[in-house]
């Protein structure tokens, strides 16, 4: 042990520590300074734990406390508080640099260290200073803006008051600071691992080391005798269905007779400390009988292949879509292109691990199991936990959530913590490592796609055929929904009179596919938009003109047969044209050397307001004439708090500071469905509008405008609004795939400018521009933030990121985006108010990455003449393609 004195946030402390104790753990565990975050398993990869030691920004997970005697440490808590924030914290809030907020404290500390030594850094210096700090939400654009704004504040060139929008001014179309931003900037927002839970047991999980096997025996006796162990539980200890389920009850919380995937949970160990729990979890003895492993859908579809799940065939869902006569149209077309495309398994990569806590509140029959985690559909989680654990009195709470991107549509660690708290009747913390978090979560589905696209001599699209297979992985999660979403949006931005598609969903032993930003359309759009460029080249048309020529027009139908009366896509083509022409000119001048520049486009018309979707939001006028909004509107970083607050204040005239949000607790909120599918602004915002309209109608009828006035005339002060999207149902015809589609669309064109090093195969993204028509913009900064983060994720999907189960274990192996991979981004916004959207708005959370990958791939082709058909387009693939310098497929 070592005796060490540290001055932390201005106060001297003495610690007696073991030699290996790192500063991060001392800050979080001994001092409860939980503003300093942990993501990367203490490997120094993420920077979420950055603090300042003796004036320098350091990753506290790498700092041995025993070597810091006498050091001065500043953490985010030492900078400022919401009532008295530091100028850097103000700058991060006002620049819109805070989305989920998990990376924010580390970013702010790295910013402080930079500005203390360099008061006026340029972009290169800022990127260098933040190169160890990871962010999944922002694409780093607004973080760099925040550093520059901080510098201006600190140099005295401007002040927060000078740039803060007038809170009493207009509410719509104004970047009012997010209600939650300042507590995130001050490190006070509690993420699940930050929750102070007295006398909690630590939980560890024994996981399958096999991809597919029968469990012959399971012996927990040695583990139960290990030091500190309170108990070990297996499937037999779970009283309910023991199933995680959204659509199909195929995923056990704890394995019963079989394991279906590497990493399946088998036993839960609860112990006094995490180290003791982990040691005991390794002592659980399991004897497996290995079964054949289905590594691909092809293997799973072979006649005689082992059936993975007894109750469901390997080919678990198929859905055709037929519009017109594609076969005839193909035969009569002037030009046809044909190609096979594929996409990788990818990780959504939220920075926060799958931390969760659970405890019993109350005693006896009335005891309530409380489970806290990062779920984005809290009422569905509640129902799933009730069924799975066989216990009705449960409350689910959403903690602050360090990113999500669809990942937590399906329950993961919450089932473990909930089962353990209920079984042991003790508070539990389940704080898995990043590596374990990766192994337990659902991933972006892989697609393999055979495509044919045809047009006439006039350049008008004539036919589109696509036969695609989706690897469902070991569990269904929302596999069927992925197919429906793809088919609802299959024809993208275009009028394609003849479509012939077949979608198949196949179980394998791979990690389960689940919701991931875009959830289906990013994969299909990669294929369609690549084929669009191939076809444009074949008939000698400019890619932008070809897309504009083929825009769907109001009154025409998409591939499901649904007709739209608004389709402001041609105008977007016109809006981006000057930028496109500038980019093409610049690229033309950079074709001669080994580094060649290219320009590529991708488009989409992303669906908003799924057929028959339902939202519910309750509002209540408070005694002080404020307004409380009760709705399960999860906000893992998108800015739903801004959306609700600004809409409510705009419609009621109630000041924003008196708009109160109750959104995180199943005991107090209206069920709103998932914070997924880009549906929160449209469905929750739409429901909020309807609730407020009822309140205002009641006030009008009573001739009053206050709480007291309503009460005096006996009128309610509480109203429930429910937005129901058009479409009688969400069912596609099983033979033709004809039927409804989304009530509205958000339209986008993205343009990538890239430079390809033809000697190394490396691609440098120079810039991505998004032209978008989302309808009315509620908060421009939040909109841009979504677009920036999506473009960054789209480029990662296109060029780098791939999740390999059992091999991808941290942020380096995942190839997480950094300030080194960051690129310039531009945004062009048109606002065509949507007739059915709340105040004319739609939603942009997913659209923003749907067409990025094809834009990048098309730009690579434009640069150097090679086309990549299987993502990601790694340097090796590009080099290999350059070596053969293939001709365009025809």
């Amino acid at each position: 042990m070592n005796k060490v004195k540290l001055k932390i946030n201005g106060v001297w402390h003495q610690f007696i520590v073991e030699p290996g104790r790192v500063l991060l753990d001392l800050l979080r565990e001994d001092l409860r300074l939980t503003g300093t975050k942990q993501s990367c398993d203490r490997k120094g990869q993420c920077g979420a734990c950055t603090v300042i030691v003796n004036g320098k920004a350091v990753r506290s997970c790498l700092q041995k406390v025993s070597r810091l005697d006498g050091a001065e440490v500043i953490t985010v808590e030492g900078l400022g508080t919401p009532d008295n924030p530091h100028l850097i914290q103000e700058a991060y809030v006002l620049a819109g640099a805070i989305q989920c907020g998990f990376c924010t404290p580390g970013m702010i500390m790295a910013t402080k260290a930079l500005l203390d030594r360099n008061p006026d850094p340029d972009d290169r210096e800022i990127k260098k200073a933040l190169e160890h700090n990871l962010c999944r939400c922002t694409g780093y654009i607004k973080i760099i803006d925040a550093v520059k704004l901080s510098a201006r504040f600190l140099r005295g060139e401007t002040t927060p008051d000078a740039i803060r929008p007038d809170p009493n001014g207009p509410k719509i179309g104004v970047s009012h600071p997010r209600p939650s931003a300042m507590i995130k900037a001050c490190g006070l927002a509690e993420f699940a691992a930050d929750i102070k839970l007295q006398n909690a047991l630590e939980v560890a999980v024994t996981r399958s080391t096999e991809h597919h096997a029968r469990l012959l025996s399971l012996d927990t006796s040695e583990a139960e005798k290990m030091p500190g162990v309170v108990g070990v539980m297996t499937a037999k200890d779970i009283k309910g269905s023991n199933r995680i389920k959204i659509l199909v009850a195929d995923q056990p919380i704890l394995a019963e007779e079989k394991v279906y995937c590497l990493g399946d949970a088998i036993a839960i160990v609860a112990a006094r400390t995490k180290e003791e729990a982990l040691a005991a979890s390794a002592a659980v003895k399991i004897v497996y009988d290995p079964l054949p492993v289905l590594k691909t859908p092809g293997e799973a579809l072979v006649t005689g292949a082992i059936q993975l799940h007894a109750d469901w065939p390997n080919l678990c869902y198929r859905q055709p879509q037929i519009k017109g006569d594609a076969k005839k149209a193909l035969a009569e077309s002037a030009a046809v292109v044909e190609a096979d495309f594929s996409t990788q398994i990818n990780h959504q990569a939220p920075l926060e691990p799958e931390a969760t806590v659970a405890y019993m509140e109350g005693e006896g029959e009335d005891a309530q199991l409380v489970v806290v985690g990062r779920g984005i559909n809290i009422h569905q989680y509640l129902a799933n936990l009730q069924e799975a654990l066989g216990y009705e009195n449960i409350r689910y709470e959403e903690a602050f959530s360090g990113g999500n991107f669809g990942q937590k549509l399906a329950m993961t660690s919450e089932a473990i913590s909930g089962a353990a708290a209920l079984h042991f009747r003790r508070p539990v913390r389940y704080i898995p490592s990043l590596a374990e978090s990766m192994i337990m979560t659902s991933k972006r589905h892989t697609f393999t796609m055979k495509v044919r696209l045809a047009c006439g001599a006039d350049g008008k699209l004539a036919a589109f055929t696509i036969d695609f297979i989706i690897d469902n992985g070991a569990y269904h999660i929302i596999g069927t929904t992925i197919i429906k979403r793809v088919l609802w949006m299959l024809s993208g931005s275009y009028n394609i009179p003849n479509v012939d598609a077949l979608a198949r969903l196949v179980y394998t032993n791979n990690p389960a596919g689940g919701a991931a930003r875009g959830a289906g359309p990013p994969q299909i759009t990669f294929a369609l938009e690549s084929a669009m460029d191939m076809l444009a080249e074949k008939i000698g048309m400019d890619p932008l003109e070809f897309r504009r020529t083929n825009s769907l027009l109001p009154g025409q139908s998409v591939s499901t047969g649904m007709v739209y009366d608004q389709w402001p896509f041609p105008e977007l083509c016109d809006a981006i044209r000057p930028t496109y022409e500038r980019a093409k000119r610049e690229a033309a001048a950079l074709k001669d050397g080994p580094v060649k520049r290219g320009v590529g486009l991708g488009t989409h018309a992303f669906g908003i307001g799924g057929p028959a979707d339902v939202g519910r939001v309750a509002v209540e006028l408070d005694p002080d004439n404020g307004l409380t909004i009760f709705a399960a509107v999860a906000d893992p970083g998108e800015g739903n708090d801004s959306m609700l607050t600004q809409i409510a204040s705009h419609l009621t005239g109630i000041p924003m500071e008196k708009i109160r949000l109750v959104t995180r607790d199943t005991d107090r909120t209206a069920g709103m469905g998932p914070a997924a599918a880009s549906r929160m602004t449209y469905m929750a915002g739409g429901s909020l509008v309807l609730a407020i309209e009822q309140l205002k109608q009641a006030m009008k009828e009573a001739g009053v405008d206050t709480y007291e006035g309503l009460k005096n005339v006996g009128k309610p002060v509480h109203y429930l609004g429910s937005k129901i999207a058009e479409g009688k149902e969400a069912i596609l015809d099983p033979e033709t795939g004809q039927g409804p589609s989304f009530e509205s669309r958000v339209h986008a064109i993205q343009m990538a400018e890239v430079e390809v090093n033809t000697e190394t195969g490396e691609v440098h993204v120079v810039r991505v521009t998004t032209a978008v028509d989302p309808g009315t913009v509620i908060n421009p900064q939040n909109l841009e933030g979504q677009l920036h983060g999506g473009m960054d994720q789209g480029v990662g999907f296109a060029l780098r990121e791939e999740y390999i189960h059992g091999e991808t274990k941290d942020w380096f192996t995942f190839k997480f985006p950094t300030t080194k991979t960051a690129f310039d981004m531009d945004v062009i916004i048109r606002q065509t108010p949507r007739t059915k959207g709340p105040l004319g708005a739609t939603g942009v959370g997913e659209m923003t990455m749907v067409c990025t990958a094809p834009a990048v791939i098309n730009a690579i082709y434009d640069a150097c003449g090679v086309r990549i058909y299987d993502l990601p387009a790694t340097p090796d693939k590009i080099k290999a393609a350059l070596a053969t310098q293939e001709k365009p497929l025809t």
């Binding site: 659509l247 469901w312 559909n377 569905q380 028959a612 998932p674 149902e729 969400a730 069912i731």
Partner: protein, 110 residues
């Protein structure tokens, strides 16, 4: 295997959209005749006053709060013990009473 999230059923002579567990998709589609029909499906020949009290409580609670009540809310609101509540409906409250009352299942991603 068909669509996993929705299907149409004819209930009390009406074509009604239900989810994969037979819960009404639109709470507004519910009528007392539908409750009678769904109850009959569950083996309840005629809903009793006690059962109607639960159904009405469920619907009133849902139309106010936008969520289904927990059993403790039912217990407090109706003065019936949890055991007696669960025994009132085949399938208990969650699978029995809530479905008959036309309350939706918590939604998944559409």
């Amino acid at each position: 295997m068909g669509d996993l999230s929705q299907r149409f059923c004819t209930i009390a002579g009406k074509e009604i959209l239900v989810d994969n567990e037979g819960f009404l998709w639109h709470v507004e589609d519910w009528t007392e005749e539908i409750a009678d029909a769904l109850a009959l499906e569950c083996g309840i020949e005629r809903l009793t006053d006690a059962q109607w009290a639960v159904i009405r409580f469920l619907r009133n609670y849902f139309s106010y709060y936008g969520r289904a009540p927990m059993n403790r809310d039912l217990k407090a609101g109706l003065g019936i013990s949890l055991l007696n509540l669960e025994a009132l409906f085949p399938g208990g409250i969650r699978h029995g009473a809530r479905r008959i009352a036309g309350l939706p299942n918590p939604k998944s991603c559409t």
